[in-house]
């Protein structure tokens, strides 16, 4: 009998300790663009606060926001603002999503390094992507077909590009749609006539970033607001963040967190 009591006590304590751990648990889910920031910040945050248990997952902006609305995660990463439909759905479920801008991201337009074209205007860029211009010769380059590379139409990066460059017009239907920044980079660096776009953090010497409206994409020009294709990155919480969620977002926005943002290739807010 004594043993049974002992075991029960043990189990109860075990259970209690789980409940205790539950209070310090934080689930972050969403955009794959924001993922590296969230991961690195969580890592450093947990080193400083060993009692915190943060799990970070990807899945995409849409998945993260849906998870926040369903109460599955505490913080939703998103590379785009919430859509009307999502906000309505959140309200229906009594969730009040609050956006926190945690970093900026510039979208660089890239071509093969052998391409003599160095600069495009926003109008030229739009004409390339909608199909009005289809040869580099029309832009002062070699007589070569332009291979248009875009991101999948559901991605946050495309969403931003559509708004700022295409102004809502459609991408030519035969554009190659790639599923990630890395895939766009990989195609552009191997294809002489290619043009594509990636987040600033993905720029590499193997491709050439074009000046847009005369401005080189860089952390400086995005921060100053002179580079025209940039976007904010978000973390959403349900209502004003409390407890661990507040501590974490405060950490991301702190000097140390913003340093991580910069190290991951994004643009810190200050």
């Amino acid at each position: 009998m004594k043993r049974v009591i002992l075991i029960w006590t043990f189990i109860t304590f075990l259970g209690l300790s789980f409940v205790h751990a539950e209070e310090k648990k934080l689930v972050i889910q969403g955009s794959t663009t924001v993922l590296p920031i969230a991961q690195k910040c969580a890592e450093v945050f947990m080193q400083k606060h060993p009692e915190a248990n943060i799990s970070v997952r990807g899945g995409g902006s849409g998945v993260g926001i849906a998870a926040l609305i369903d109460g599955i995660c505490d913080i939703a990463d998103s590379s785009r603002p919430m859509k009307k439909k999502e906000i309505i759905k959140a309200e229906e479920k009594g969730v009040n999503p609050e956006p926190h801008v945690i970093a900026m991201d510039g979208i660089a337009v890239i071509v093969h390094p052998s391409n003599p074209v160095n600069e495009l205007t926003l109008t030229q860029l739009k004409d390339i992507y909608t199909g009005k211009i289809s040869n580099w010769g029309q832009l002062g380059g070699k007589n070569q077909k332009i291979v248009v590379i875009s991101r999948d139409v559901a991605s946050g990066t495309f969403e931003c590009f559509k708004k700022l460059v295409l102004k809502g017009e459609r991408v030519r239907p035969d554009a190659l749609l790639q599923a990630s920044n890395a895939a766009v980079l990989s195609v552009v660096k191997r294809t002489k006539g290619a043009i594509g776009y990636v987040g600033l953090g993905y720029l590499s010497p193997e491709v050439k970033a074009l000046k847009i409206e005369g401005v080189t994409p860089s952390q400086d020009t995005v921060l100053k607001g002179t580079y025209p294709i940039s976007r904010p990155l978000f973390m959403y919480t349900n209502g004003k963040p409390k407890g661990l969620a507040k501590d974490f977002i405060d950490f991301v926005l702190s000097k140390e967190g913003q340093k991580i943002v910069k190290e991951q290739g994004f643009i810190p807010l200050k």
Partner: protein, 291 residues
């Protein structure tokens, strides 16, 4: 007491056996529940035969004809490569190779099936696509041809191992009768063994089709991903699977786009289901003919 135990064990295993049926049922229910609402936004005809896939434009267009054709084109191309290679390897393994070579070559071919599709995709993107572009003088090597080439290689193990089973299952007396009539080995293989194993080989090919049409990661990486109706093998295409994989994560859950992706999954499910049923019917016929 013993009987109770027996029954318990029986029930236990029955539960596990039926679990997969429950899972299948659950998947089908979810597919239809999430997919069918798309037909409130668009019509059945516009969805299946629409020529443009612009799910996020204003107004959106949900035409999956380019995606269906993309899937079929890549699958057809893959079959052109994998059927001759796969069936020929099966004939070699079961009829010609010495036991020693057979013991070596069979596991090697089956090893092909064990390579993750993302590895095939990476290999295709980095090694094959630039070569294809160079050889055929194309602007870009990511197209239906490259995808077919790689998917064809991926389908070989499926086709080879099932064909090989079918060929080995041809009764020895068939072949002996052929030899007795003076036919040589080649004549026996072509005129006796292959026709006798025909049903099994057809099953192998159909399962190969199902394997290729459902493949996702590789086509996502090497097919180019442009949702246009293809006019040749050297154009980029976008398949149904790649569309679902690339867009599901980012779209608004419950939106028309979300439903459309599930509806594509329904179409894909029905296609593979019919291929599987076809394979089943054919293999049963084959058994009857031999029996």
């Amino acid at each position: 007491m013993r009987k109770v135990k027996e029954n318990l064990i029986r029930g236990f295993f029955c539960l596990f056996a039926s679990l997969s049926i429950f899972f299948l049922l659950g998947i089908v229910i979810v597919l239809f529940k999430e997919g069918l609402p798309i037909f409130k936004v668009t019509t059945f005809k516009e969805f299946l035969f629409g020529k443009f896939w612009y799910p996020t434009s204003e107004p959106p267009e949900f035409g999956i004809l380019p995606l269906i054709l993309g899937s079929f084109l890549v699958t057809f191309g893959a079959l052109v490569i994998s059927v001759p290679l796969g069936v020929a390897s099966a004939i070699y393994i079961s009829e010609i190779a010495s036991p020693k070579i057979k013991e070596f070559i069979k596991p090697v071919i089956e090893l092909l099936a064990g390579i993750p599709s993302v590895v095939y995709g990476f290999f295709g993107m980095v090694v094959v696509a630039p070569q294809v572009a160079k050889i055929f003088n194309l602007a870009v090597g990511l197209n239906a041809f490259t995808a077919s080439l790689i998917l064809g290689i991926m389908a070989i193990p499926t086709i080879t191992s099932i064909s090989e089973d079918a060929i080995s299952a041809v009764p020895k007396r068939f072949k002996e009768a052929s030899y007795a009539l003076g036919a040589n080995k080649w004549e026996t293989v072509i005129k006796v063994t292959l026709p006798a194993a025909g049903g099994g080989i057809t099953t192998a090919i159909i399962l190969g089709i199902a394997r290729v049409i459902g493949e996702t990661m590789t086509v996502l990486m090497v097919a180019g991903g442009a949702p246009v109706i293809p006019h040749s093998f050297f154009e980029p295409v976008r398949t149904m699977t790649a569309t679902i994989a690339a867009e599901m994560g980012e779209t608004v859950v419950g939106s028309a786009h979300f439903c459309a992706l599930f509806a594509i999954a329904i179409v894909l499910f029905l296609i593979t289901l019919s291929f599987n049923i076809l394979a089943d019917i054919l293999s049963q016929r084959f058994r009857k003919r031999l029996g």
